[in-house]
Each structure stands twice: as C-alpha cells, then as structure tokens.
Amino acid sequence: MSVSRQASRIALGLVIPCAVLVVWHFASRHSAVVPSVASVVNVLIHPWQSPPTLDSTSLASGALISVLRVACGFTLAAITAVPIGLIVGRNRTARDILNPVIAAAMVISPIAWIPVAIIVFGLSSPASSMYGDEAWRYGMFDQLRYAIIAVIWMGAFFPIVLDTAAGASSVREAHLEAVQVYGATRMQRLRFVILPAAAPAIVTGLRVGGGIAWRVIIAAEIFPGTRSGLGYMITTAHDQAAYEYAFASIIVIGAIGLVLDGLLRLAAHRVTRWQVKERS
C-alpha cells in the first residue's frame, strides 16, 4: 500500500474521534456533569496516580488487572472451546448431544451468569485457594476472582465453539482423502487437514470471543469484593460523580480493545494468508 493511501486511511479513521472531541468539548462547557477534555487528559497522562476522591486503584493498575482477568478467561475459553468445537464439527453424536445445550446457552447474556458464578465460586481467587485468610496480602493475585474469570469464559466460549464447529464440519472430503490414502492416523488428519482447514473459522471465533470477553469484564467487575479494574473504576467514578475517571476508563477500554483486535487480526492474517489470497 502506498504511503499516501496509508496516510489517507489514517486521516479518515481520525474523522469521527475528532468530531466526538469537538462535541465533547462544547458539551462540557455547557454542563456541570460532563468533565472537560483537559481533566480527562490529565487522568490519562498520569495513569499511575491513585484517584484522590475514589476508593479505587490507579487507572494503569485497573487496566492491568482487567487485562489479566480477560487474558485468563479468554485463554481458558480458547483452550476448552477449540477442542469441543472440533469434536462437535466432526462427530455427529457429539453434535446431537451438545447442539441443544449450546443453542440454549449461547443466547443467555454472559452477565446473567454472574449470580450463578458467585454461588459456585463465591469470592475465592487463586490467592485465597493458596493462602486462605492471608489472600488479601497478594493484591492483584487476590483480585483475579474465579467468578469473574468464569463469567468471561462463558462469554468467550460459545462463539469460539460455534465457529470452530462450523470450520471443522466444512472440511472437504477430497482434502481428507488426500491424507487418508497414505494411511494417515486420526491425529495426522487433525494436524494436516482439519485444523488448517478450520483455522480461518477458529480465528474468527477467537476474535468474536475476545471482543465479548472484553465487553463482559466491565460488567463483571461490579462483583462484590472487587476493588480494582476498569469496570470497578467506572462504577465508583459514577457513584462519586468523578466523571473524568469514568471517561478516562472508557477511552482506555477502547484503546486496549483496538490493540487486542489488532493483535488478533495480525494472527488471523498469518493463519489465513492462503485463504485471503485464494479469494482475491
């Protein structure tokens, strides 16, 4: 892509954010509630500063714990959903058993699982499992609540299962026969044909699941006992009318989402290079 084309793409991408900034600026001048752009920028450029008026950790450590929670929940979802999706996609009996469960569970908002997660996991965390009553000493480690991770897992799991199953079930028989004729084992069929053929669909599922996980975390951080994270900061900022922190958190959420999606897109490009070329 030429430099001028790339510059024009970046410029076009900045049009809406700039318009939002202008509208925001004028709105803040005529409203006592909307924080000024400058106050939000001040929070953003001092990310490690603890908010003086809020019972919350700094913006940076809040972002870090949110990212950690999403990373744990999303990784668990990917590890469990990809194999299950492959089984559902390739095995009719498994499909018949699991499809009704998946179809019913996928329409339930992940947020609705919060009470269930609290009943199952309570307020326990990896730190509480290892250190019991002393868990609070381990800060971030204690804040990785199992219940929050379980809700993120629920959010990311179903799109990954469904896309993986769709990819695995659409593998062409001719491609499978290409290795079967050499006496390929079940694992070799999986490695040489099913996984690469399903990779584009798996990556799509991971991107969708990643997006949902990142959206779910904000709502999941209203959990009782949670004292950190961007979702928690937004809630407490709202309670204390310190809206500059809520706005700053929203901007950070968007920025991290953009980076995560960029990373997943990069991974997708590598895995699906052949498919992109084949379509063009």
Binding site: A178, Q180, Y182, F192
Partner: protein
Amino acid sequence: MNDQNDMIRFEQVDRHFHTEARGEVRALRRFDMTAKRGNLTCVLGPSGCGKTTLLRLAAGLDKPDGGRVFLNGQAVNGPAKNISLMSQEGSLLPWRSVRGNIALGLQVQGVGRAARRKRAEALLQRVHLPTNVGRSYPHELSGGMRRRVALARALCTNPSVLLMDEPFAGVDEPTRHQLQNELLNVWSADKQTILFVTHSLEEAVYLADRVIVMTFARAVAQFEIDLPRPRNRLSEPFVKQLVAVREALEASSEYNQTIKH
C-alpha cells in the same frame, strides 16, 4: 481366477449408498474387473456410473457391501503404502505450499524434513515445473501447473499403483495433451500399474493398454488397445481404433441406454 499378473482385481463387487435426494444409489453392481501389473488401464464411462467409487474401493478409502477387491493378490482392507491417488483438481491442500503438497505423503509416513524437501524438488523437475514454484500456493498456479503438482504428489511415495480420477479434466486441450504425455513419460520409466478414470474416449484410447467401459454400475465392454507408442492422434491406425471402439459402444444396448439417460 487369480492371476500373478493381476495387480488390481474386483470380484463381484457391490456398493450402494443412501442419499437424501436420490434414495438408494447403486454405485457398483456385481462388478468384475482386473488391471494387469504395469499396465495402464482406463475406465471409461459417463458421470455417475460408479468410476470414482471404483477408485475409492481400490485405494482402501471405502469398503464394498459385497464381493472383494484385491491388490497384488491381497484383499484390500484399508489404504496401502504402495498406492497413490490423484483426484480431480480440488484435492491439493490450499494452505500448503506446492512443496508441502508434494511431500504430503512422505510427511504422513514420518519422513524427515530434509529428505522430503529433496524429494519434492526432484519431483518438481520431473514434472517440468521450475524449482521456485515450490514456495507458491496452489491458487497462484495455472490449472495445468496444478495438475502437474498433483501428479508430483501422487508420485512422491514411489507407488507401484497409481489411481487417477479424471486428473486432467477441466484444462484446455493443448495442456491436456501435454499432461497426458507427461504421464506416459513417467509411466514408461517407472512402469506403475495405472488405473485411469476418464469420460473421454479419445483420452482413453490415447493412454491405455486396455479400456474398460462402465455403465449403470457395471463393466459392459473391454477393449485391448494394441497401438504402438508413442501414439499419434492424427495417424490412421489411431483414428481407426477410435472409430472401432466408438462403433462397438454404439452397438452396445446397455451403453446406449446410459447415454439416453
């Protein structure tokens, strides 16, 4: 009757499928056939007459409902090491490079990377493709080049039996003729037993030692082609042979019935 020279033998083979659209479909019905060791046998017939099922059974990818299939005197129970299958265009794996596609069989058999690469490059030369094509993906090649890659892949494990399912369908005539000659060159050097499925009578007469004609899931006629090689499509003996086979087929009531269908 078992013959030492029979490399592939079908004895009274039955195979039927159930499909949603067509109900019960008989792909092969009490089917008998032999392919002699080192011969090039063409199976000729219209679409849907059971030709591909025949190859899948010989490759051990499918099992008969009745009768038996023998390969080199042994009943076929699954894929065998000395067999290779070259299907129609779509069987190249689009996510693998040309080199990766050619060496697929060796990789399945656990051959090391360096040996696979060496063999793939030798085969690229053998099918007259430049070595730098090895890094390309199948969709970056022309139809003719893809067929050459598929041929190279089929030869990679050094098979003694080559099963070919309309391998040159869908390419223009000059390329098709080139590919046919390419195949004959390989065959005359290695003398594999080749079972070649086609619906082109001209292709069958040009390539084969023997042509087996299939209709309605059965072999209805066989012709020995005694023309010397290399064959010339414009020569009088070739045209005479072609016409003789055509006339014999037209006289066959079963074949005519199929054509009318």
